[in-house]
Amino acid sequence: MIKREKRRYLALEVVSEQPLNEQTVLYTVQSSVHRLFGEYGASKANLKLIKFIPEKRQFVIRCSHKALEPVRAAIASTTEINGKNAAIHVLGVSGTLKALSKKTRNI
């Protein structure tokens, strides 16, 4: 029997003064993972943008549960978006969106 891949949902917050959109935030996270862990690591992370709230500068991404720590490290290592200083903080991590929304409340 094929085992279903476990996932982790991460609620993130961007600290940056520039305007953001879905493509920019996902590209930033993907390129951070790619820069730190290469193509092989990025392929294992299986990243997907789930939700983006531009007014709160928060977003939710999904990754493989085995790649949680590398993805978290890549997110923490982000210091700029589009060449301007920025930081991304992890607000919460969970195995389901429901539990994540309970954890972070405001997402």
Partner: protein, 243 residues
């Protein structure tokens, strides 16, 4: 629940609003204790101002001094003069002699090494053996990992990997701190723990380096600096008040 500590939050002492926002950010990120480096000439007013900001934001505050001596004698002089004025003493070792002296001196809490000149990272087996006997910790700052790019970061990570393995072999406590000078380089403790996996520090060791190890250092020093401390294992339990 773990109590996290950042023993090296480099807040600008002359810029009060920025200092306040950085301490506030540390609190929001989940730190219970911040160590702020002060110069030996820092006035009592500045310290009480910082203490006030920290108590407002519900973060414990530890005073810290960083020494960068050029010779072992200079280090000994500084320790003699200032050890009892600060809760944490960190030594940035620029020469091997200073590194050896700092590692064997029980008054030194944290050992720091250069992040740009990797030839000046003297944390080898001999250093680790001395440090393990004197209870000093190896301090690893994570802001340089965020700031450096490409090959300089690769070289630093490689060096850190070797040092962490040596420290673990000789049971030298590791302390992870931010070394952040700006809010943008501050991250939560679990994010830092994830970053340390880049130099092969296990998640449990990383969390210990962010919580238990710094707290043990600060609490040990607070006991030593208290008026009731006599010698290791001996302290005053009560005083007779008048006749």
């Amino acid at each position: 629940m773990k109590r996290f500590a950042d023993l090296h939050l480099r807040v600008p002492l002359k810029d009060n609003p920025k200092a306040e926002s950085m301490i506030q950010k540390a609190s929001e990120l989940g730190y219970n204790l911040v160590g702020i480096p002060l110069s030996p000439q820092t006035t009592r007013e500045q310290i009480s101002q910082l203490r006030h900001i920290c108590s407002d934001t519900k973060v414990d505050f530890a005073t810290r001094v960083n020494f960068s001596p050029r010779t072992p004698n200079e280090l000994l002089q500084s320790l003699r003069r200032f050890r009892r004025k600060f809760e944490i003493v960190a030594v940035r070792c620029h020469t091997k002699d200073v590194a050896r002296q700092a590692a064997k001196d029980r008054r030194v809490d944290l050992l720091q090494f250069s992040v740009t000149n990797l030839r000046k990272r003297f944390f080898d087996e001999a250093e680790a053996e001395l440090a393990s006997q004197a209870l000093s910790s190896l301090e690893i700052e994570l802001a340089p990992i965020l700031q450096l790019t490409s090959f300089s970061r690769v070289r630093l990570l490689s060096s850190l990997r070797r040092e962490v393995a040596t420290a673990e072999r000789f049971k030298v406590p590791i302390t992870i701190s931010s070394g952040a000078t700006d809010e943008l380089f501050m991250r939560g403790p679990r994010d830092y723990a994830a970053l340390t996996t880049l130099f092969d520090l296990s998640m449990s060791s990383a969390l210990r380096a962010l919580s238990d190890n710094p707290w043990v250092t600060v609490e040990r020093n607070r006991k030593k600096l208290s008026a009731d401390y006599v010698a290791p294992g001996i302290h005053v339990v009560g005083r007779k008040t008048g006749d």
